[in-house]
């Protein structure tokens, strides 16, 4: 088993590369999900009704 993890001495390179890739994958999956949830919560709140794009935009002078 430790022979597998040592990868014939290249273990630190192989596991560092796989670890970083896994971290990037997890970040992607997590951040996309978190963003969707946050935006849904904001969009479905009562306040969002007033910000509906159907209403004409009032520009402040």
């Amino acid at each position: 088993m430790s022979e597998f993890f040592s990868m014939d001495g290249d273990g630190s390179y192989v596991w560092a590369a796989y670890g970083i890739t896994l971290a990037v994958l997890i970040w992607n999956i997590w951040s996309a999900r978190a963003r969707l949830r946050r935006n849904l919560r904001d969009a479905l709140s009562d306040r969002a009704e007033d910000e509906s794009p159907r209403r004409p935009k009032v520009t402040q002078l």
């Binding site: 990868m7 192989v14 590369a17 970083i20 990037v24 904001d42 969009a43 479905l44």
Partner: protein, 250 residues
């Protein structure tokens, strides 16, 4: 130029949101299962390389992350271009959604490449090496696109201006691909996408292609979830969204 009729449905936020919501879980499950099988195959089952030894196993993740970065940029440029020409908001939403995913995968390709470079080339990084420089440029193009968007308060303006940058920058993608053939570089030439067929053993090629499929599925899974988030952000308080939420709750 006129767009075909079926294409117009993809301009409708409720249609695209529902479609993404239906497809995303399947892509996610498919991608994660393939990632597990391909990862195990690549790390445990595949034989040791006769030249590089065990460190070659980075080949099951590094080219895949680089390819996802380039595909993400191409998708971003095409969507932004479609959004710019036909003024389709969903197309801009796709472009915005692809950018952070592409940036993260390109970053990953740069880092895993550096880690692989140390034992095989004797260096983590070589300034001036064409493949490395154009890949770094790809990363900066993603960051530039996101930074440019962040500079505008008005979303429509951000869409249009950033689309120009996305489209202009796409010339970098074929340059990255051909850089190993056009110039002298430390980076090896293509192993799999060759005219005379892949120069890789079948026992290594199978997990390699499984990982390509896994990363592709995960990319589109994340893209669809991000696209859903982007559509919601662009349609706050829309009635169809409330109805959709009510239906999926019950």
């Amino acid at each position: 130029m006129k767009l075909p009729v079926w294409f117009h449905r993809f301009g409708s936020p409720p249609y695209v949101y529902g479609l993404a919501n239906a497809i995303a879980p399947w892509l996610g499950a498919f991608g994660l299962v393939l990632l597990g099988v391909g990862g195990y195959w690549g790390l445990v089952v595949a034989p040791t390389d006769f030249q590089q030894g065990e460190v070659y196993r980075i080949i099951y993740i590094h080219p895949q992350t680089a390819y996802i970065g380039m595909m993400a940029y191409s998708l971003m440029a095409v969507s932004a271009g479609i959004g710019f020409i036909w003024r389709i908001k969903i197309a801009h939403a796709v472009a915005v959604s692809a950018a952070p995913i592409g940036a993260s995968f390109t970053f990953c390709a740069l880092v895993t490449g550096a880690i692989w470079g140390r034992p095989t080339w004797g260096t983590y990084w070589e300034w001036g090496d064409p493949r490395l420089m154009f890949e770094l440029l790809l990363f900066f193009l993603f960051l530039g696109y996101l930074a440019l968007r962040a500079a505008f308060d008005d979303r429509d303006k951000a869409d249009r201006v950033s689309a120009v940058l996305a489209v202009v920058g796409v010339v970098n993608v074929p340059i990255i691909h051909y850089s190993v053939l056009w110039w002298n570089t430390l980076h090896q030439g293509p192993t799999v996408s060759r005219l005379d067929g892949p120069s890789m053993e079948t026992s290594m090629l199978i997990p390699f292609l499984m990982m390509v499929a896994a990363f592709t599925a995960i990319f589109y899974w994340v893209l669809l979830r991000r696209l859903q988030g982007e559509i919601v952000a662009r349609e706050p308080g829309a009635r169809w969204l409330r109805e959709f939420a009510r239906e999926s709750d019950s």
